[in-house]
């Protein structure tokens, strides 16, 4: 064996050393081994890692990261980092159910400055009468009943007849119909544009319902304009007759 050793330079006793010097010689040799092992394995705590440093035969301790952190590289050496939240194009904001109510309001602050535009789905599973569903913007727990609502609801009945219901400067949107005699078909998906922005608002969407007037299923297309720059944080639907039971889902479109 080379003396000192080839890789780590441990100094061993030689044949010329006096026997009485051996304890001191082994002290030197083994202390060298001990020091080097510690340099190579610097860990002190459960979960520690070690990586090679710029100093030969010496590793650097990397303390264990926190829950959720991932191993990455920064400035040329390994380190732990919290991964960035992935950006998605479509984020669920809230969902809810309602049962036997005359009106439904989304929770306060459903619309925030985080998103400019939203997708809102309303499913009415049952109604207690032949009802018209109207809608109003809402802020701080109060519906806006000003004459800001312009809309057109185009209805195509399965019997092929069509109708258009218009609102021009009204106090609410007319957004759909359902019948107590034929529950189940009502489902609407609307895009709410800029409800919380200080800008005029639009709602566009499609859906299906039941037209009690002619007792037929009907598809509908809705376009609405909120003629105000007031910032709203919620929206309400109101049943003109009887009560409604169902659910809603709100999603934010990534800006």
């Amino acid at each position: 064996m080379a003396n000192p050793t080839t890789n780590y330079g441990f100094v061993l006793p030689t044949s010329a050393d006096l026997v009485t010097d051996l304890p001191a010689d082994f002290d030197v040799a083994l202390q060298g081994v001990d020091t080097r092992l510690k340099a190579l394995q610097p860990g002190t705590t459960l979960g520690d890692l070690a990586y090679s440093s710029a100093t030969a035969n010496t590793n650097t301790r990397l303390g264990v990261g926190s829950t959720g952190q991932v191993l990455t590289v920064a400035a040329g050496v390994p380190s732990w980092a919290t991964p960035a939240t992935p950006t998605t194009g479509f984020t669920k904001i809230t969902t809810g159910t309602f049962s036997a109510v005359t009106s439904v309001s989304l929770p306060t602050n459903t619309f925030t400055s985080t998103y400019t535009n939203y997708n809102v789905v309303l499913i009415i599973a049952s109604t207690s009468g032949n009802t018209t569903i109207t809608g109003r913007y809402r802020a701080s727990g109060t519906d806006n009943t000003s004459s800001i609502y312009n809309s057109a609801l185009s209805i195509a009945r399965v019997t092929t007849s069509v109708a258009v219901v218009g609102v021009n400067g009204g106090t609410s949107f007319t957004m759909g119909y359902n019948a107590g005699t034929n529950n189940g078909p009502f489902g609407q998906s609307w895009d709410f544009l800029s409800p919380q922005a200080a800008a005029e608002k639009q709602i566009v969407g499609t859906g299906f319902g039941y037209n009690s007037e002619l007792d037929t299923y009907s598809a509908n297309w809705f376009g609405g304009h909120g003629n105000t720059t007031t910032q709203f944080d919620s929206f309400s639907w109101i049943s003109s007759t009887g009560t409604i039971t169902g659910s809603y889902y709100v999603y934010g479109y990534q800006n």
Partner: protein
């Protein structure tokens, strides 16, 4: 009011407030006015068709 009305206000189901009842009454008046106007327009149209002695489909053909 005899019949209580309820709102699903976010996560809370509660009875209408006095203001909401008042707005509801206003909405009912508006809805009735719109329904009456639509019914009158429908009746006027039907009466006109009778006077002309033609059906709705025939009127559409004449106007097409």
């Amino acid at each position: 009011m005899n019949n209580k009305l309820f709102i699903q206000d976010g996560e809370t189901k509660r009875e209408f407030t006095e203001l909401e009842y008042a707005q509801w009454e206003l909405d009912q008046i508006t809805n009735k006015a719109v329904a009456d106007a639509n019914a009158k327009a429908k009746a006027d149209k039907a009466a006109l068709l009778v006077k002309l002695g033609i059906t709705d489909d025939e009127a559409k053909l004449l106007l097409s």
